[in-house]
Assembly symmetry: C2
């Protein structure tokens, strides 16, 4: 049973900023979460283009009753400029998808695309510490996941990307922020792996195959895929066939909502599973 | 039965701007009206101070999915500066309480404090055309009501105010905008009256008396009072005693909500009584 949504003069505001904006699900999802948790707040969509971003976003941050901002791609790097403080992942890749107003009026930002993946894995009871990861994709999602995995204590990350410059940049960024994690391009050093993660778009189309050479899966291999699709992707199907544990785009998405709730409204129950 | 409020990425935004903002009822009232009428829109509170007004309001007007703005006192004169087009009452007194985005992207503004009063009178089936009005108060409410009454075709308005300069200014403004209406300070020309309106704060305190010398009420005199109070004001009690027809602050408030709904969302049923 969903709690009714109410808006009064005392309701606190959060905004999801982007252009186009009509397709975003966050407005509905977070507004309902606020209502269900008895928090007098709503998340409203705000259509802000690349051209108007630099005018509108600082003005929104000056609204006395606005406590946080989310953004859609490709605004995540821009929004990072407005944070007075960045979380580890955001600092590593220079992008945020959420800003939060602190009690002193300053703004903290962080990137939850990777934290959502990590939380999705943890919610399934899987261990990350010590894992040796093969990661496909060095774009926005790949970067966020690489940082979040490093932060979660994986032993090594090998990155596969069709863009060598982007790949090298991500390797350097993660090395700089997380020196305890052994990170390299997979074409440089492959080594043994016990976790395969797809953070590339491969799998979004029904007839897509695997994102690349995933090597040999064993039942000990943990498989993750950021793609949200009706039917399991080729990678997830292979994981199921080999008896591996796996997390898919839905698990990551659920974990991300929880992680962002905890960040935006610390007194929320976002830390618990939302089902 | 109230319709449930939903917010999605496609929801259109309206804002009520002011500081403080927690006390405003518009957010709840209009959001529920939108829901009840099947309009996918919400009215959200936005805390904007005098200091931040000039930065934030233009930015809000640049939001691609924001279709209208309301303001609380004392921001009504400021907001009028941002309209490309003013309604008759707004043009007369130089203040608006609502801005609406037009299809071509321009912004129209108008002042509904007086229109609400007129609509409240009309909803009770009373005639305004040809009335000779004695009006107490030349402030924001008094000015808006004087204009709206002149626009509705009253024959004359005599204004009573403790501030002679404000009184003279309002007389001049209404004369300029509505030359067909005979408007003057009541201390200059009293004449016969068949309508008495209180737009002053007198009556807000339970032991307040009448707003001034109301002359002799007859059953033909229409009595109006903008004050919203638990018990009837002294003026309304006198109207009841003399068998007059009357409208009070609640009638005006209901009329105002309808008038603003019609303005903000022309496809709404605001033109009809909302009960």
């Amino acid at each position: 049973m969903k709690a009714p949504v109410r808006i009064t003069g005392a309701t606190r505001l959060y905004a999801i900023v982007g252009d186009p904006i009509v397709q975003v699900r966050s407005a509905e999802v977070f507004t309902q979460r606020f209502a269900d948790e008895g928090i007098d707040a709503v998340l409203v969509p705000m259509q802000v283009s690349l051209d108007t971003f630099a005018t509108i976003v600082p003005a929104l941050m000056a609204l006395g009753n606005l406590d946080g901002l989310l953004v859609t791609a490709p605004l995540k790097e821009l929004l990072a400029r407005y944070a007075s403080r960045l979380g580890a992942t955001a600092g590593c890749i220079g992008a945020v998808n959420a800003l939060r107003r602190e009690a002193d009026g300053s703004w903290s930002g962080d990137m939850f695309d990777g934290a959502g993946f990590v939380r999705g894995v943890e919610r399934k009871g899987e261990r990350l510490r010590g894992r040796r990861v093969l990661l496909f994709g060095a774009g926005g999602a790949g970067g966020a996941i690489a940082c979040a995995l490093a932060e979660a204590g994986v032993r090594s990350i090998r990155i596969v990307s069709p863009d060598p410059l982007r790949n090298a940049r991500l390797v350097a960024a993660v090395q700089g922020s997380f020196p305890d994690c052994d990170v390299a391009s997979a074409s440089a050093r492959r080594d043994d792996i016990d976790m395969v993660v797809n953070a590339s778009p491969v799998g979004m189309k029904p007839d897509d195959g695997l994102p690349g050479d995933i090597g040999r899966l064993t039942p000990d291999t943990l498989v993750g895929d950021v793609v949200v699709s009706e039917a399991p992707t080729a990678l997830i199907r292979q994981a199921i066939d080999q008896g591996c544990r796996w997390v898919d785009g839905r698990d990551m998405h659920g974990g991300q909502i929880d992680a962002i709730m905890t960040f935006l409204a610390p007194r929320s129950s976002g830390a618990r599973a939302s089902g």
